[in-house]
Every structure is written in structure tokens, then in C-alpha cells.
Amino acid sequence: MTVEWSVLLVEDDDMVRSWVRMSLTGTEFRLAAEASSGAVVAELVERRSPDLLLLDYRLPDGTGTELLRELRHSGVTIPAVLMTANAVPGLNEEIREAGGQGSVLKSGRVDELLYALRTAIVGERSFDVRHPTRHVGRGALTPREREVLRLVAGGATNREIAGELSVGDETVKTLLARTFAKLGVRRRAEAVAAAYDRGLL
């Protein structure tokens, strides 16, 4: 291959990292670097100057879209494709909002991975249609998520929500992250505004 594009892979599962590396052998792509969490990615982008980012969605230190938002905020403009094991409702919208160019399900199919990378590297978008479109109606939120939103709207802190619902702090964080993702927002105030707009509160 005469043209060679370098890819920075961020994926916590070493089997998946190995599969991606072997899948790219003999193609126009090569791995510039691999990381198992988001913590070192900004530094790797600076040091290795990759042409493309391939990010797992579920990372040990946050989500791939959170990582991408931070990278975009710090001026990183190279194309980014997000990978997930499961179809996630609203994920394509979440990736677009974070500044990503594509999504690909970890199906084990080399052609699907290469299609997503080839589309992104030429500046186009490729979102896997198996991720259901974001629901914005009342039914999109579970009763507990609506309850969390109601408490957020009342000004409750995470600790107060945990106490009110008799759950742990981590559960509150998870519930908030899922609710924000379903509503397509990043902050508590935006979540409350979106919930009122859509008649969820």
C-alpha cells in the first residue's frame, strides 16, 4: 500500500485491540498507538500525530464520547470513529454532537471496520444504522430516570439523590449519564430544560 493512514486505537479489551491490529494488517491503515483508557490519549495524539481516532465507547475512565468532546475542546480535529459491543439508542446522535464522524458495532467483521475507517478518513460520515435513533418522548425514560430528573430539577445534589432513592453514588452517576444521553444534553440545567420542553416533568 502506498498510502498509509495512522490510527490511534483506544480500547480496554486486549483481545479487541489485537483483532483490530491484525485486521488492519495489509490495508492502508496502521496503528500509530494503542491505549487501554482515555487518560493518556491527549498525550498520544500530541506525540504520534495520528490521522484517525478509533475509540471504544465504554472505557474504564469514562465514555468515548466524553473523551472525544475533551479532545475537540482542546483543538484535536482529526476524524474519530466510535466502537461499541451493543447497539445503543441515541448513540449516533451522541457521537455527532461530540464531534465524531462515525460509529461501528464490534461485530467481528473486518469489512465493517474498514468501511467506517475509509469513510471517516476521506472526510465523510458513516454511522451504523443498528444504533436506534434517539427517543425523546416520555416513554424514553424509565420511571427511575424521570425521578432522578425531578430531583435534579429541584436542585438536589448527587448525594441527596442517592439518599432520596436509597441507592449508591455510583448508581446516581450512571442514572444521570443515561438520562443525559437519552436527552442529548451534557449538563444538569440543560437536562431540566430539555425535560420541561418535552413534557417529561
Binding site: M22, G108, V110, T142, R144
Partner: protein, 75 residues
């Protein structure tokens, strides 16, 4: 697998089921897709020495992970 708290009230059951299904799917799909992915590499790139050497090892490891996860679920 991330810990999921058991529902304490009837109205929390839907939320519990949604989270449990999502976690289970993620846990089972990861080794399954590794098996599918490395098997495909073995089928389509048998001339690649690294694939011939490494893919069977990863397939066995993923299958054993899957078995262990299922055993944990059923115990």
C-alpha cells in the same frame, strides 16, 4: 460486569431489567465477537503467520471467558 443494585420498589423493576439486559449483552457480546472476528481472520487470511499463530489462542481464550461468565450467571 458493573454492579447493578436490586430494585427495592416495584416502579424500579423496568429500570433494573433495562440495565441488566444491557450489561449482560455487553458481557456476552465481547467474547463472542472476538470468536467471530478471529475466526473470520483465520478463514480470510490463512497466509498471515501472525493470524495463524495468534487467532486460535484468542478464540480459545474468548470461549473460556464466555463459559466462565455463563457459569457465574447460572450459579
Amino acid at each position: 460486569m458493573n454492579a447493578i443494585e436490586r430494585p427495592r420498589r416495584p416502579e424500579d423493576v423496568d429500570d433494573f431489567v433495562e440495565r441488566l439486559a444491557s450489561e449482560l449483552a455487553h458481557e456476552l457480546r465481547t467474547p463472542l465477537t472476538a470468536i467471530v472476528g478471529f475466526a473470520e481472520l483465520l478463514r480470510t487470511r490463512p497466509e498471515d503467520e501472525e493470524v495463524r499463530r495468534e487467532a486460535p489462542v484468542f478464540i480459545q481464550r474468548a470461549a473460556e471467558e464466555l463459559l466462565a461468565k455463563l457459569d457465574n450467571l447460572l450459579c
